[in-house]
Every structure is written in structure tokens, then in C-alpha cells.
């Protein structure tokens, strides 16, 4: 008898719980991305989510974080088991693969064309494959050069236009500040690591010399300029910053993004190629630098070169198998609405993707962002092919590293890189 009443109680509770769940009809939207594991991005995002849930009490956001470097293994693993969440991060590295695997909804079916036209078109094109819009741009981090305003003023320097001027400045700022006989401050925090953080920065420097690591030619085929005079010049200039001019700290191949940031934080270097998101990170760890950091667009090569900025668009894809596409669309729209995007921009420095906001005074008038706003005028999208990340994280880094360690000459390295890129193009 006793047992039975227990069973009744359990059953009753179950039914009650079920009913209460159904009566609220809350939908849980699973979102996975990498910015949630960073700071201060986490705080900003949590605040936006809170606002969203307040406005939409019927939707709950279940946020999962994955560090960017680990996302490469995690997303395909989830995909092959059909276990992807409703919404997940999408960047240029992934987008070709997403299309290939069929794991991103074509957003033209979800959003109106008018809405999509409201995005900065360069950022949208970095998430578009064969005309299909596969991800919803969340923010861009246009690349430029961060510099120490105070040191520039001390020496009476102004931001450079060309790489030659850049080198002069770097030389001037590289010195022994405490007089112990060894250099303790360098002009430039060079990232020459064998990963995406080194490779993606190099690609932009490369492009300012006038060549393209990968571009469509007139016949609509992909070709590479790594082994052209412009390409070789880029390799030569970049590597000689270390080997010839010694304006960068020793051991640049150990310097990945985190290390480079440390160099800026600890007053070891004066300049660094990066985006506006770095400013917050630097000041958070060394508050004395508040107001002392500015930015200018990447210099260019004297003949045949041009200013360039890569946007590094970061967006979200919607799982084609998700039955919550509508809620997902609602959430993504909320992420980039005026209020959220301004909050996001203010807290993290990452730039909005809606054209209207990019021109707003809140963004345009921030002195520390001015250089990046200018850089956005020079933005060019990167190609969205599935093998692009191999070029960025492996082929180009191998090339510049082999020159720096003296294993290959500029010509040999450029030739080898060209061979590898061509064989990648052919394989696909």
C-alpha cells in the first residue's frame, strides 16, 4: 500500500512539472560561440542576453562557450553526429566547410533582402559562399596598427603612410631605455607564430604590397601572387624586420596574439598589427595606458602598394535542422540592434556590422577607434574557399618562418608556398 502511494506522488509531481513547463511554453535556444569565453566580452554578452530575455520571456538562451582554437575540432565533431546547437559561431575559416557539409541555413530564406542589405557588404561577403548568405554578421574587427601615442609624441613622430616610414619609426623607438647596454624596448610587436593569429596578420601586410595570396582571375579561376615580385617583397620586408633591422623583440615565432598583447601591456613594444578589440584587453591589464593607445591604418608599399584592411567578420550560422529558426533569427537580430551593438562596441571595441551604426557618432567619434574607422574604408573581403585556413594557418606561416630561421631564401620560400597553394587549388 505504502509503495503505491509513493508511486502516486511521483506520478503526480511528474504531471505537475510537465504541465508547468508546457504552460510557460518557454523555448530554449542553444547558442555556441567563442566570444563568451573572453573578457570583457563575456560581461557584455551576458548583459545583452539579459535584455533579450527580458523582452522575450518565452525564449531562454542557453549559451555554451568554446575557445576559438578548439572550435576547429569541436564543430565538425558535433556536426558529424548531428548534435550541433541551434546557433553557432561562423567565421571565414569555417564558412567554406559549412557550405560543404551543408550545416548552415541560407539566411536569404530567413531574413528579408532589405535587412541583409543593411549590413556592411564586405562583412556580409566574408560569410557568403556561392551567393548563399551562410551566417549573420555579428561584429567586425578591422585590422590596423595600434601604437603608443605618448611615445610617438615624445619623439615627435606621426603615423606612417608607407612601410619605409614605418621602419624609420620602428628604428627610432627601438632602444635601451634604462641604459644597461641591452635593448629593452622595440618598435614593433611582430607575430610570426605558426597559427592563424600570425598568418592572418601577415596576409594583410602581404596585401599592402599589391599582391594577393589568393584571388579570382578574369577567367574566374583562383590564382596566387605569392611568387610574384610584390609577393617576394612582402616576404622580404616582413622577415627583415626581425633578421635585418631587429626592430622586433627576440623570438617572434613564439609570439602569438596573447604574447604580443603582453608585450604591449608591459611597455615592451610600441606598435602591433591588430584590431580594436585589443585596446580593451590592454587597458584592462594595464590601466595606466588608458588614453595612450591609438591606431592607424596599415601602411603600404611605396610602389604598387595600397592600404588594406581585413575585417575578420564574426558571425553566427543557424543550424538547418533546428526547429527554432524563428527564435534564432529574433535573437540574432537583437544582437545587432542599435542598443546591443553600441553596448558591445563600447565594452569590447569590436565594431558593428550594420551600416547605419558604423556611421553613428558614438562609433565615429571615439578617438581610440578613429584609425580603425578609417581602416574600414580600405576593407577587402577574403575569399571564402574551404582550404583558405590551410593557407592562412600553415602555408604562409611556414614560408615566413623558413625565411626567418634561414632554412630558405625568400625566393625558395615563395616558390614552395606557391607550389603548395596551387596544389590545394587543384585538389579542390
Amino acid at each position: 500500500m505504502k509503495l503505491r502511494s509513493n508511486v502516486k506522488i511521483v506520478l503526480f509531481t511528474l504531471v505537475f512539472v510537465l504541465f508547468s513547463i508546457m504552460s510557460v511554453q518557454a523555448v530554449t535556444l542553444e547558442v555556441m560561440d567563442s566570444v563568451i569565453v573572453e573578457s570583457p566580452e563575456r560581461e557584455a554578452l551576458l548583459q545583452i542576453i539579459e535584455n533579450f530575455e527580458e523582452e522575450n520571456p518565452d525564449i531562454t538562451i542557453d549559451y555554451q562557450g568554446v575557445p576559438m582554437n578548439d572550435a576547429y575540432a569541436q564543430i565538425p565533431t558535433l556536426a558529424t553526429s548531428g548534435a550541433l546547437p541551434d546557433v553557432y559561431l561562423a567565421t571565414l575559416d569555417f564558412i567554406g566547410t559549412f557550405e560543404d557539409m551543408g550545416i548552415a541555413t541560407d539566411l536569404r530564406d530567413v531574413f528579408s533582402q532589405e535587412y541583409l542589405d543593411g549590413f556592411n557588404q564586405n562583412s556580409l561577403s566574408e560569410l557568403t559562399v556561392d551567393g548563399k548568405v551562410l551566417a549573420h554578421p555579428f561584429f567586425v574587427i578591422p585590422m590596423g596598427v595600434l601604437y603608443r601615442i605618448d611615445w610617438f609624441e615624445e619623439k615627435g613622430l606621426t603615423p606612417p603612410e608607407t612601410w619605409e616610414e614605418f621602419l624609420d619609426i620602428a628604428n627610432e623607438l627601438t632602444e635601451d631605455t634604462n641604459g644597461d647596454g641591452s635593448v629593452d624596448r622595440w618598435g614593433f610587436a611582430m607575430l610570426a607564430s605558426r597559427d592563424g593569429s600570425g598568418g592572418s596578420r601577415f596576409i594583410q601586410i602581404f596585401r599592402t604590397f599589391g599582391g594577393y595570396e589568393l584571388r579570382l582571375n578574369d577567367e574566374g579561376e583562383y590564382v596566387t601572387d605569392v611568387n610574384t615580385p610584390q609577393g617576394r617583397n612582402a616576404f622580404e620586408f616582413f622577415t627583415e624586420l626581425n633578421t635585418e633591422h631587429e626592430v622586433v623583440p627576440p623570438g617572434p615565432m613564439e609570439v602569438s596574439y596573447g604574447e604580443a598583447l603582453n608585450l604591449m601591456v608591459t611597455n615592451k613594444t610600441a606598435m602591433m598589427v591588430t584590431g580594436p578589440h585589443s585596446i580593451g584587453g590592454i587597458i584592462e591589464r594595464n590601466p595606466e595606458l588608458d588614453g595612450k593607445i591609438g591606431a592607424f591604418p596599415l601602411p603600404m608599399a611605396q610602389d604598387g602598394g595600397k592600404h588594406i584592411s581585413v575585417l575578420n567578420t564574426y558571425g553566427h550560422a543557424i543550424n538547418p535542422d533546428s526547429d527554432k529558426k524563428e527564435e534564432a533569427a529574433k535573437f540574432l537580430k537583437f544582437l545587432v540592434n542599435d542598443e546591443s551593438a553600441l553596448l558591445w562596441n563600447e565594452m569590447t571595441g569590436r565594431m558593428p556590422t550594420r551600416t547605419g551604426l558604423l556611421q553613428s557618432p558614438e562609433v565615429q567619434d571615439r578617438p581610440d577607434l578613429a584609425g580603425f574607422v578609417e581602416a574600414m574604408d580600405y576593407a577587402e573581403p577574403l575569399p571564402t574557399v574551404s582550404y583558405y585556413s590551410t593557407i592562412m594557418t600553415d602555408i604562409l606561416p611556414s614560408a615566413y618562418q623558413s625565411i626567418i630561421v634561414g632554412q630558405a631564401t625568400v625566393e625558395e620560400a615563395a616558390e614552395r608556398a606557391e607550389e603548395r597553394i596551387i596544389s590545394l587549388i587543384e585538389e579542390n
Binding site: M32, S34, V37, E38, Q64, G65, V66, P67, M68, N69, D70, A73, Q74, P76, T77, L78, T80, S81, G82, A83, D184, S197, Y257, G258, E259, L261, N262, V265, T266, K268, G281, R285
Partner: protein
């Protein structure tokens, strides 16, 4: 003769001291880094004893990161793995040591062969299996995966240890009317405690330190383990060396303590174990 002995001993001691120095200086550096402030970490030349000693990193790992939860996960997963895989592999070791059956030698060879496939390629199949069983983001899922790593060698070690225990004991027990399972459980197992301890330590260390699978097979923050948590301190955007060193020290302490008490047993356990095949 006596003099020769002494010289020999002194030479040995010198080698031991040098080796211990090589082991301890990185650990000391770890401790030193964990006590430094952000600014002092990057001072050149580096200081062994920080000017400003702060224990904040040790506090931060509990307040700023969910390491309480990570430790809970790790302890739960690893201790369960250790116990269950000890039980399973002692069964297998006993079976292989006491009974003759078809395919026995293949089974023993197979245990070694399992170690030879690159683990990065096991990620996707593992994920699929766990997904089918509905065990992604569960403690049980990781426990099963870790058992797949630990049981082959644990079985091998236990097999070796059982081989060193005279089989006459079993025969005597079976004359007394003990069933096979009771013989194993009540007679042979209690005699194998050193072997179990050695095997257990091995399983514990192996699963406590595992990184790659825990990383990929858990997507939920609340299910991550200590090594994954440590790995996440080396984010793309920052490397907080002091916090990293602090949590690494804390993560190693349980094993250091365990080893200090068990080191004699461990070596004794191996004496009968892996050694005598």
C-alpha cells in the same frame, strides 16, 4: 674496498642531486610565478623571489573561474574510472592468468595493439558512440571513454601480478568448494593489494591528466574537467601565467600526497606486475 664504495656512493648522490634539481627547479619556478603580480611576471631579469608576494592567484582560481566545479567533475570522473577499471581489469587479468581459453594470447596482444592508433582520429568515432548512447556532456560518458584508455594496460598489469601469485592457492580453494568467482574475490584479490594499488595509481594519473577527449566530448561549461580548465587559461586572447601556475600546483597536490603514501606499494605492486610476463 670501503673507500671505493664511498666514492661510488658520493657519485650516486651527486647524480641524484642534479636530477632532483632538474625536477625541482621548474616546480619552484611554478610556485614563484603563481605568487607574482601581473606586472612582476614580465620583469626582466626574472626574480625567483617576488618583491610583492601575493596569494591572489590562488583565490582567483576559485572565484574568477569555475574551478570548484571542474575539480568536482574531475574527482568524480577519475575516481569512478579508477575503481571500475580496476575491477574490470582485475577480472580480465585473473581470467587470462588462471584459465586457458581460445584466443587468450590474441587477447593479450590486442590489449597492447589498442595503444597504437593515433588518438586524434578516435575523437569523431568516440563522439558518435557517446551521442548514440546519449552520453555527451555527462560524467558517465567520460568515464566510459577513460575506461577504454585505462583498461587495456591495467588488465595487462593485473595479469602480470596474478601470474606471480602461486596457482596452488586457487586449487586449494576449489578443493574447499569455493566457486571461481569467490576464489578470485576472497582469496586472490586480497593478496593482490600491492598490484591493485600500482594499477590504480596508473589509471588515476592517466585519466586525471587527460585533455583532448575531455575537451571535445564536453560542450557544456559545467561538465569540463581540470585539465580542460587549465587549457582554457591559455585562451586565444590572454595567458594568465600566474593563475595557470597556481591552478596547476593545486591540481597536482592530490597526486603528490597519494604518491608519498603509496610509493613503496607502487613499486612493490609493479614488482609482481608488469615485470613478469
Amino acid at each position: 674496498m670501503l673507500k671505493k664504495m664511498k666514492i661510488n656512493n658520493i657519485l650516486s648522490l651527486i647524480i641524484l642531486i642534479f636530477a632532483s634539481f632538474m625536477v625541482l627547479f621548474p616546480v619552484a619556478w611554478m610556485l614563484s610565478t603563481s605568487l607574482k603580480t601581473m606586472q612582476e611576471m614580465f620583469v626582466t631579469p626574472p626574480r625567483w623571489i617576488p618583491q610583492e608576494i601575493t596569494f591572489r592567484a590562488f583565490a582567483r582560481i576559485w572565484t574568477d573561474y569555475p574551478f570548484v566545479r571542474f575539480f568536482y567533475n574531475s574527482i568524480l570522473i577519475v575516481s569512478t574510472t579508477t575503481i571500475v577499471s580496476l575491477f574490470f581489469s582485475s577480472l580480465a587479468g585473473y581470467g587470462a592468468s588462471r584459465f586457458n581459453f581460445k584466443g587468450k594470447s590474441s587477447f593479450l596482444v590486442f590489449l597492447l595493439v589498442t595503444q597504437m592508433f593515433p588518438s586524434v582520429m578516435l575523437l569523431i568515432p568516440f563522439y558518435r558512440v557517446l551521442n548514440i548512447l546519449g552520453l555527451i556532456n555527462t560524467h558517465l560518458g567520460l568515464i566510459i571513454v577513460y575506461m577504454a584508455f585505462t583498461t587495456p594496460l591495467c588488465s595487462w598489469m593485473m595479469y602480470g601480478y596474478f601470474e606471480s601469485i602461486p596457482k596452488e592457492l586457487d586449487d586449494a580453494a576449489s578443493i574447499d568448494g569455493c566457486s571461481k568467482f569467490r576464489t578470485y574475490w576472497q582469496i586472490v584479490l586480497p593478496l593482490s593489494l600491492p598490484g591493485l594499488a600500482a594499477t590504480g595509481i596508473y589509471a588515476f594519473i592517466m585519466s586525471w591528466n587527460e585533455y583532448l577527449f575531455a575537451l571535445v566530448l564536453t560542450t557544456d561549461d559545467s561538465m569540463k574537467t581540470v585539465p580542460v580548465g587549465i587549457g582554457s587559461l591559455v585562451g586565444q586572447y590572454r595567458t594568465a601565467w600566474n593563475d595557470l601556475m597556481a591552478v596547476s600546483l593545486v591540481a597536482s597536490i592530490p597526486m603528490l600526497i597519494a604518491f608519498f603514501f603509496l610509493s613503496k606499494k607502487l613499486i612493490g605492486g609493479l614488482t609482481g606486475g608488469a615485470v613478469k610476463q
